[in-house]
Protein backbone atom coordinates (compact mmCIF):
# COMPACT_ATOMS: atom_id res chain seq x y z
CA UNK A 1 0.00 0.00 0.00
CA UNK A 2 1.45 3.36 -1.01
CA UNK A 3 0.10 6.44 0.57
CA UNK A 4 -0.98 9.47 -1.36
CA UNK A 5 1.99 11.28 0.10
CA UNK A 6 4.47 8.79 -1.34
CA UNK A 7 2.79 8.93 -4.72
CA UNK A 8 3.04 12.70 -4.77
CA UNK A 9 6.63 12.46 -3.71
CA UNK A 10 7.35 9.97 -6.48
CA UNK A 11 5.69 12.24 -9.00
CA UNK A 12 7.74 15.17 -7.71
CA UNK A 13 10.97 13.23 -7.91
CA UNK A 14 10.17 11.99 -11.42
CA UNK A 15 9.99 15.59 -12.68
CA UNK A 16 7.73 14.62 -15.53
CA UNK A 17 10.34 12.24 -16.87
CA UNK A 18 13.12 14.82 -16.78
CA UNK A 19 14.54 13.75 -13.42
CA UNK A 20 17.86 12.71 -14.93
CA UNK A 21 18.43 16.31 -16.11
CA UNK A 22 16.73 18.39 -13.44
CA UNK A 23 18.22 16.79 -10.34
CA UNK A 24 21.83 16.68 -11.55
CA UNK A 25 21.50 20.36 -12.46
CA UNK A 26 20.36 21.20 -8.93
CA UNK A 27 23.01 18.91 -7.50
CA UNK A 28 25.69 20.69 -9.52
CA UNK A 29 24.46 24.05 -8.26
CA UNK A 30 24.61 23.08 -4.61
CA UNK A 31 27.68 20.83 -4.71
CA UNK A 32 29.82 23.44 -6.44
CA UNK A 33 28.71 26.23 -4.11
CA UNK A 34 29.23 23.94 -1.12
CA UNK A 35 32.70 23.25 -2.47
CA UNK A 36 33.34 26.99 -2.55
CA UNK A 37 32.28 27.32 1.10
CA UNK A 38 34.21 24.25 2.16
CA UNK A 39 37.35 25.49 0.45
CA UNK A 40 37.11 28.70 2.46
CA UNK A 41 36.60 26.81 5.73
CA UNK A 42 39.56 24.54 5.06
CA UNK A 43 41.73 27.49 4.08
CA UNK A 44 40.70 29.42 7.18
CA UNK A 45 41.73 26.49 9.38
CA UNK A 46 45.05 26.13 7.61
CA UNK A 47 45.82 29.84 7.85
CA UNK A 48 44.89 29.93 11.53
CA UNK A 49 47.09 26.89 12.20
CA UNK A 50 49.98 28.59 10.42
CA UNK A 51 49.42 31.81 12.32
CA UNK A 52 49.24 30.00 15.66
CA UNK A 53 52.53 28.29 14.85
CA UNK A 54 54.01 31.64 13.95
CA UNK A 55 52.81 33.14 17.18
CA UNK A 56 54.19 30.26 19.24
CA UNK A 57 57.54 30.49 17.44
CA UNK A 58 57.88 34.17 18.07
CA UNK A 59 56.78 33.94 21.70
CA UNK A 60 57.86 37.14 23.32
CA UNK A 61 60.21 38.07 20.50
CA UNK A 62 58.73 40.80 18.37
CA UNK A 63 59.01 40.75 14.59
CA UNK A 64 61.45 43.17 13.03
CA UNK A 65 59.83 46.55 13.10
CA UNK A 66 61.34 49.29 11.09
CA UNK A 67 59.09 52.31 11.13
Amino acid sequence: MRSVETLRMDKFLAMGGFAQYVWPAYAAFFVILAGDVLATVVRRRRVLRELRGRLARQGTRRPRVSA
Binding site: G16, V22, F29, V37, R43, E50, L51, L55
Partner: protein, 252 residues
Protein backbone atom coordinates in the same frame (compact mmCIF):
# COMPACT_ATOMS: atom_id res chain seq x y z
CA UNK B 1 30.79 62.43 -1.24
CA UNK B 2 32.25 62.93 2.21
CA UNK B 3 30.29 60.03 3.61
CA UNK B 4 31.51 57.92 0.72
CA UNK B 5 35.12 58.92 1.34
CA UNK B 6 34.81 58.07 5.01
CA UNK B 7 33.24 54.75 4.14
CA UNK B 8 35.95 54.04 1.55
CA UNK B 9 38.77 54.76 3.98
CA UNK B 10 37.21 52.91 6.88
CA UNK B 11 36.42 49.77 4.90
CA UNK B 12 39.74 50.12 3.15
CA UNK B 13 41.47 49.41 6.44
CA UNK B 14 41.96 45.64 6.80
CA UNK B 15 41.22 45.26 10.54
CA UNK B 16 38.06 47.33 10.23
CA UNK B 17 36.96 45.39 7.19
CA UNK B 18 37.67 42.11 8.98
CA UNK B 19 35.35 43.03 11.82
CA UNK B 20 32.73 44.49 9.49
CA UNK B 21 32.76 41.39 7.25
CA UNK B 22 32.51 39.11 10.27
CA UNK B 23 29.51 41.10 11.49
CA UNK B 24 27.49 41.10 8.27
CA UNK B 25 28.43 37.59 7.14
CA UNK B 26 25.79 35.72 9.23
CA UNK B 27 23.12 38.12 8.02
CA UNK B 28 24.06 37.57 4.40
CA UNK B 29 24.00 33.82 4.95
CA UNK B 30 20.59 33.92 6.61
CA UNK B 31 19.03 36.03 3.87
CA UNK B 32 20.58 33.91 1.12
CA UNK B 33 19.36 30.63 2.62
CA UNK B 34 15.86 31.94 3.38
CA UNK B 35 15.41 33.38 -0.10
CA UNK B 36 16.77 30.21 -1.69
CA UNK B 37 14.43 28.01 0.38
CA UNK B 38 11.35 30.01 -0.61
CA UNK B 39 12.55 30.34 -4.21
CA UNK B 40 13.19 26.61 -4.51
CA UNK B 41 9.78 25.77 -3.10
CA UNK B 42 8.17 28.15 -5.56
CA UNK B 43 10.21 26.91 -8.47
CA UNK B 44 10.15 23.18 -7.86
CA UNK B 45 6.72 22.74 -6.28
CA UNK B 46 4.39 25.66 -6.89
CA UNK B 47 5.22 26.63 -10.46
CA UNK B 48 3.29 24.50 -12.98
CA UNK B 49 5.19 22.58 -15.68
CA UNK B 50 5.94 24.54 -18.84
CA UNK B 51 3.58 23.95 -21.76
CA UNK B 52 6.35 22.90 -24.15
CA UNK B 53 9.29 21.83 -21.99
CA UNK B 54 7.41 20.08 -19.22
CA UNK B 55 9.37 19.92 -15.98
CA UNK B 56 12.74 20.32 -17.71
CA UNK B 57 12.30 24.08 -17.62
CA UNK B 58 12.79 23.99 -13.85
CA UNK B 59 16.54 24.01 -14.50
CA UNK B 60 16.02 27.71 -15.18
CA UNK B 61 15.93 28.40 -11.44
CA UNK B 62 19.57 27.40 -11.05
CA UNK B 63 20.88 28.07 -14.55
CA UNK B 64 19.79 31.65 -15.02
CA UNK B 65 20.89 32.91 -11.58
CA UNK B 66 24.27 31.23 -12.10
CA UNK B 67 24.65 32.68 -15.60
CA UNK B 68 23.74 36.17 -14.37
CA UNK B 69 26.07 35.85 -11.40
CA UNK B 70 28.95 34.78 -13.64
CA UNK B 71 28.75 38.21 -15.27
CA UNK B 72 27.79 40.13 -12.13
CA UNK B 73 30.78 38.77 -10.20
CA UNK B 74 33.01 39.62 -13.14
CA UNK B 75 31.69 43.16 -13.04
CA UNK B 76 32.43 43.52 -9.33
CA UNK B 77 35.84 41.93 -9.80
CA UNK B 78 36.68 44.20 -12.75
CA UNK B 79 35.81 47.34 -10.76
CA UNK B 80 37.89 46.20 -7.78
CA UNK B 81 40.68 45.23 -10.15
CA UNK B 82 40.62 48.68 -11.72
CA UNK B 83 40.87 50.32 -8.30
CA UNK B 84 43.61 47.85 -7.33
CA UNK B 85 45.74 48.65 -10.37
CA UNK B 86 45.30 52.42 -10.23
CA UNK B 87 45.34 53.21 -6.48
CA UNK B 88 46.75 49.97 -5.06
CA UNK B 89 44.66 49.66 -1.88
CA UNK B 90 45.07 46.25 -0.32
CA UNK B 91 41.32 45.74 0.13
CA UNK B 92 40.58 46.18 -3.59
CA UNK B 93 43.19 43.55 -4.43
CA UNK B 94 41.66 41.16 -1.90
CA UNK B 95 38.10 41.70 -3.10
CA UNK B 96 39.07 41.24 -6.75
CA UNK B 97 41.10 38.10 -6.14
CA UNK B 98 38.57 36.49 -3.80
CA UNK B 99 35.75 37.23 -6.26
CA UNK B 100 37.46 35.28 -9.03
CA UNK B 101 36.93 31.73 -7.65
CA UNK B 102 33.29 32.50 -6.81
CA UNK B 103 32.74 33.82 -10.33
CA UNK B 104 34.44 30.75 -11.76
CA UNK B 105 32.16 28.54 -9.63
CA UNK B 106 29.04 30.28 -10.93
CA UNK B 107 30.34 30.05 -14.50
CA UNK B 108 30.97 26.34 -14.08
CA UNK B 109 27.43 25.90 -12.69
CA UNK B 110 25.99 27.83 -15.64
CA UNK B 111 27.92 25.58 -18.04
CA UNK B 112 26.89 22.32 -16.38
CA UNK B 113 23.24 23.25 -15.87
CA UNK B 114 23.09 24.74 -19.36
CA UNK B 115 24.33 21.53 -20.92
CA UNK B 116 21.96 19.45 -18.74
CA UNK B 117 19.12 21.63 -19.99
CA UNK B 118 20.38 21.38 -23.55
CA UNK B 119 20.15 17.58 -23.68
CA UNK B 120 16.32 17.33 -23.45
CA UNK B 121 15.85 20.50 -25.50
CA UNK B 122 18.38 20.06 -28.32
CA UNK B 123 19.13 16.39 -27.96
CA UNK B 124 22.77 17.08 -27.12
CA UNK B 125 24.71 18.08 -24.04
CA UNK B 126 26.92 20.47 -25.90
CA UNK B 127 26.31 22.68 -28.83
CA UNK B 128 28.39 25.61 -29.97
CA UNK B 129 25.59 27.97 -29.18
CA UNK B 130 26.60 31.60 -28.77
CA UNK B 131 25.74 31.87 -25.08
CA UNK B 132 27.23 28.56 -24.01
CA UNK B 133 30.38 29.33 -25.98
CA UNK B 134 30.70 32.79 -24.45
CA UNK B 135 30.20 31.24 -21.03
CA UNK B 136 32.98 28.74 -21.76
CA UNK B 137 35.35 31.54 -22.77
CA UNK B 138 34.38 33.40 -19.60
CA UNK B 139 35.31 30.32 -17.62
CA UNK B 140 38.75 30.30 -19.25
CA UNK B 141 39.17 33.99 -18.44
CA UNK B 142 38.42 33.26 -14.79
CA UNK B 143 40.86 30.35 -14.79
CA UNK B 144 43.55 32.54 -16.33
CA UNK B 145 43.07 35.20 -13.66
CA UNK B 146 43.19 32.64 -10.83
CA UNK B 147 46.19 30.91 -12.40
CA UNK B 148 48.14 34.14 -12.81
CA UNK B 149 47.37 35.17 -9.23
CA UNK B 150 48.82 31.93 -7.89
CA UNK B 151 51.83 31.96 -10.22
CA UNK B 152 53.50 34.74 -8.21
CA UNK B 153 55.34 34.16 -4.96
CA UNK B 154 54.20 37.49 -3.57
CA UNK B 155 50.39 37.49 -3.31
CA UNK B 156 50.11 41.26 -3.60
CA UNK B 157 52.17 41.32 -6.78
CA UNK B 158 50.13 38.41 -8.12
CA UNK B 159 46.92 40.24 -7.23
CA UNK B 160 48.01 43.31 -9.17
CA UNK B 161 49.06 41.29 -12.23
CA UNK B 162 45.84 39.26 -12.17
CA UNK B 163 43.84 42.47 -11.69
CA UNK B 164 45.40 43.85 -14.84
CA UNK B 165 44.44 40.65 -16.63
CA UNK B 166 40.89 41.03 -15.30
CA UNK B 167 40.78 44.52 -16.82
CA UNK B 168 41.95 43.17 -20.18
CA UNK B 169 39.28 40.48 -19.89
CA UNK B 170 36.60 43.08 -19.18
CA UNK B 171 37.44 44.77 -22.47
CA UNK B 172 37.69 41.45 -24.26
CA UNK B 173 34.44 39.92 -23.01
CA UNK B 174 32.00 41.98 -25.13
CA UNK B 175 34.27 41.44 -28.14
CA UNK B 176 34.19 37.69 -27.56
CA UNK B 177 30.43 37.73 -27.24
CA UNK B 178 29.96 39.81 -30.37
CA UNK B 179 32.36 37.68 -32.40
CA UNK B 180 30.78 34.43 -31.20
CA UNK B 181 27.29 35.67 -32.12
CA UNK B 182 28.57 36.68 -35.55
CA UNK B 183 30.29 33.31 -35.94
CA UNK B 184 27.05 31.58 -35.04
CA UNK B 185 25.05 33.35 -37.69
CA UNK B 186 27.84 32.61 -40.18
CA UNK B 187 27.61 28.87 -39.62
CA UNK B 188 23.89 28.48 -39.72
CA UNK B 189 24.03 24.76 -39.10
CA UNK B 190 24.45 25.17 -35.36
CA UNK B 191 22.03 28.01 -34.79
CA UNK B 192 19.59 26.99 -32.11
CA UNK B 193 17.01 29.06 -30.40
CA UNK B 194 18.14 29.73 -26.92
CA UNK B 195 16.03 27.97 -24.38
CA UNK B 196 13.64 29.75 -22.17
CA UNK B 197 10.11 29.09 -21.09
CA UNK B 198 7.48 29.41 -23.76
CA UNK B 199 5.90 32.21 -21.76
CA UNK B 200 6.95 33.94 -18.58
CA UNK B 201 4.20 33.39 -16.06
CA UNK B 202 4.28 35.20 -12.72
CA UNK B 203 4.26 31.80 -11.02
CA UNK B 204 7.78 31.17 -12.38
CA UNK B 205 9.02 34.74 -12.35
CA UNK B 206 9.00 35.30 -8.61
CA UNK B 207 10.93 32.11 -7.75
CA UNK B 208 13.45 33.06 -10.42
CA UNK B 209 13.87 36.52 -8.95
CA UNK B 210 14.20 35.11 -5.43
CA UNK B 211 16.85 32.64 -6.55
CA UNK B 212 18.75 35.42 -8.32
CA UNK B 213 18.72 37.62 -5.23
CA UNK B 214 19.67 34.63 -3.08
CA UNK B 215 22.66 34.03 -5.36
CA UNK B 216 23.74 37.67 -4.90
CA UNK B 217 23.57 37.32 -1.12
CA UNK B 218 25.45 34.04 -1.30
CA UNK B 219 28.15 35.85 -3.27
CA UNK B 220 28.31 38.52 -0.60
CA UNK B 221 28.55 35.96 2.18
CA UNK B 222 31.19 33.87 0.43
CA UNK B 223 33.20 36.97 -0.50
CA UNK B 224 33.21 38.16 3.12
CA UNK B 225 34.36 34.76 4.36
CA UNK B 226 37.07 34.49 1.74
CA UNK B 227 38.28 38.06 2.25
CA UNK B 228 38.58 37.51 5.99
CA UNK B 229 40.85 34.51 5.47
CA UNK B 230 42.87 36.34 2.84
CA UNK B 231 43.35 39.29 5.20
CA UNK B 232 44.57 37.05 8.03
CA UNK B 233 47.12 35.57 5.67
CA UNK B 234 48.20 38.87 4.10
CA UNK B 235 48.47 40.85 7.33
CA UNK B 236 50.20 38.08 9.28
CA UNK B 237 52.83 40.41 10.68
CA UNK B 238 50.28 42.81 12.17
CA UNK B 239 49.18 43.00 15.77
CA UNK B 240 45.45 42.80 15.03
CA UNK B 241 45.95 39.42 13.38
CA UNK B 242 47.86 38.14 16.40
CA UNK B 243 45.02 39.33 18.65
CA UNK B 244 42.49 37.68 16.38
CA UNK B 245 44.35 34.37 16.37
CA UNK B 246 44.67 34.40 20.17
CA UNK B 247 40.96 35.20 20.50
CA UNK B 248 40.08 32.43 18.10
CA UNK B 249 42.15 29.93 20.06
CA UNK B 250 40.50 31.00 23.30
CA UNK B 251 37.04 30.54 21.87
CA UNK B 252 37.68 27.02 20.70
Amino acid sequence: MNAFKLWYHKLGSPPYFYVFAGYIQPWLWTIALLLAAVGLYGGLVLAPPDALQGDAFRIIFVHVPAAWMSLFVYGVMAVSAFVAVIWRPKMAEVLAMESAPIGAAFTLIALITGSLWGKPMWGTYWTWDARLTSELVLFFIYLGIIGLYHAFDDPRQGARAASFLAMIGAVNLPIVHYSVVWWNTLHQGTTVHYFGPSSIAPSMLWPLLLMTIAAKFYYGASLMGRSRVALLSLERGKDWVADEVRGDTAHG
